[in-house]
């Protein structure tokens, strides 16, 4: 069952179509992220769900009701903005209480609910502060509490962590996910940070030029990208030009690789084969059944990871290996063997 349904949404600003053919079904209580580069239309879709923009065509349903024409103030949607957008003239308490006062809730109930929300974000002690007296992380928590206080149908967050520094970003990210699961609220989260999207979402929508390129769980998006764009955008990739040799095998980097997973490919078709750096190793691990010969170009020690650049079949390949006490840094100029398993080979359509 779908709680939030976007059907065939298109949005144009004058002659520019910035969102096209956008379909999405979000289950109740699900956490969905929109991931994509700047300008791909993430914010625009979110604003259409919130009611700040009207789709040029298509419809939006929340909980079975068509809200496409409903003004934002009647949609019961909680929104968190990148720039916090707390009301500067109100204390933390009054900010959180705002939506409740507007809804006409009795004073005593408001007090209880506000205390409850402040507990949820562990900022009860700062209830009487004003926004200018708080750090960005604290302000964003308050903004979250303010959005959640009226018990909205949906929670929408537009890059809520982008303005914060790295440490607070991860801790607040985890808080958002914890609170979301505690309340079971259906959530749409916009980000251009893949780590953020992959780490907190039930499903990720990778957007590209106004379209949903791929919708799937974080693992599906990362391990089985279905388009060239998704593969390039999410994670780092080593790509090889390749050719379908027979329905059972593909040829790349000077080798024929038997790959029964891709039997639907036409023999002779040019394709692209990709390998994640972390799927590769310079020593055979249990299960590694394939290898390519190469030469070490250089290597870098990154603490938990050793990153080596290897020249394989005339092109540069990144290899990431976990650091261990007995690991030695590959020496530039040495010959090396790059190991991986058949299952790590990603086959991508050549043209997108």
């Amino acid at each position: 069952m779908s709680f939030l349904t976007l059907k065939n949404i298109t949005k144009s600003f004058g002659p520019n179509t910035v969102v096209r053919d956008f379909d999405l079904n979000v289950a109740p209580g699900e956490f969905v992220s929109f991931l994509g580069p700047s300008g791909c239309g993430k914010t625009t879709v979110l604003r259409m769900i919130a009611g700040f923009e009207t789709p040029s065509s298509g419809s939006i349903h929340v909980g079975g009701t068509d809200v496409t024409a409903l003004p934002a103030s009647r949609r019961k949607i909680g929104m968190v903005f990148q720039a916090y957008a707390l009301f500067p003239n109100m204390s933390v308490r009054d900010n959180v209480a705002f939506g409740l006062k507007i809804a006409g809730m009795p004073r005593a109930e408001i007090d209880t609910r506000v205390a409850e929300m402040l507990d949820l974000i562990s900022l009860g002690s700062l209830a009487d502060r004003y926004p200018y007296q708080m750090s960005g992380g604290q302000q964003q928590r308050v903004a979250l509490a303010r959005a959640l206080a009226p018990r909205p149908n949906l929670l929408l967050l537009d890059e809520p962590l982008s303005a914060l520094d790295a440490q607070i970003r991860t801790s607040l990210r985890d808080d958002i996910r914890r609170i979301q699961q505690e309340l079971g609220i259906t959530t749409v989260f916009v980000t251009h940070d893949q780590e953020e999207a992959l780490s907190i979402s039930d499903r990720v929508v990778v957007m590209h030029k106004g379209r949903a390129d791929q919708i799937g769980t974080p693992a599906q998006i990362y391990n089985r990208p279905t388009t060239r764009f998704v593969a390039d955008f999410v994670g780092k990739l080593n790509t090889f030009e390749a050719r379908v040799e027979s329905p059972q095998s593909i040829f790349f980097a000077g080798q024929n690789i038997h790959d029964p997973r891709h039997t639907d490919l036409t023999p002779g078709a040019p394709i692209t084969v990709a390998l994640r750096p972390e799927a590769l190793s310079l020593r055979p691990r249990p299960g590694d059944d394939l290898s390519l010969p190469g030469r070490v170009l250089h290597s870098t020690f990154l603490g938990s990871v050793i990153r080596a650049q290897i020249e394989v079949a005339g092109q540069q390949v990144s290899v990431d290996m976990f650091n261990r006490a007995d690991a030695t840094l590959p020496v530039a100029g040495d010959m090396a063997e790059v190991w991986f398993t058949r299952g790590d080979v990603l086959v991508l359509p050549s043209v997108m």
């Binding site: 919130a50 009611g51 003004p71 103030s73 500067p88 939506g99 502060r129 004003y130 200018y132 708080m134």
Partner: protein, 275 residues
Amino acid sequence: MSRRFPILSALIALIGAAFFIVPLIATFNFSLRMKRGELSFEAYRSVFDSDVFLGVLGFSATASLMAILMGVLIVVPTAYWVRLRVPRARPVIEFLSLMPLIIPPVVLVFGYVRLYGSSSILPLTMTEAGTNVLLVIGYVVLSVPYMYRAVDNGMAAIDIATLTEAAESLGASRLRTIVFVIFPNIRSAIMSGAFLTFSISLGEFVITSLLNRPAFGPYLVQMGQDFAYQPAALAIMAFAFTWICMVLMEAFATRKPGQRLLPWRAPRSVTKAKS
């Protein structure tokens, strides 16, 4: 490396200051000499003793306050709407708001008299109340350039669009958004616009005298023709009043939410903390 004291600059500053200060001191000194051979506040006392003075001051103050109220009610929603909905029209609106500085008040008031005179559909000038309404409208027009600027600057300082969206997503209607979110956040800007409106309207002469209202501006001019010392006293008081307005404007403008207007009454010393 030591810098030499900038003698030339200081000299220029002093000469500049003298232009303001010398006449002021002279006027003040003169206003104290109503009684021969001694310095006294006699001129001030005689001004305050006059019923006419208190009457015209009351009238002008009331008209100015009405003008402020009307100006705020017109300018705030307009500036808000322009910023939110038609930001590209902002330069045009800003230019329009300057028109009252370009068109002389005489032209304005003659226009009024023609438009709302005895033979018009809306003969406002035929009644006392109607003329007062016209006077207030005239004051509003004169103060629009200042009010608009002040309010628009105030709106530039906060993120109007996002705050509006935040309020809307919490269920607030447009009106409630303006009243509870926008208004309080540009209060200091509105206050400075209000003080400017007040000081413009209080001593306004052209419109007021042509509409023949018993107000402060015409009274001041009349006094200047009839007496010697009282006008000086009035001028000094008007000057002091303007300065009080400026100080109040400053106090409102630099106040932060949650702080009292008078800082020594309730010092809030909450320091910014990291989360």
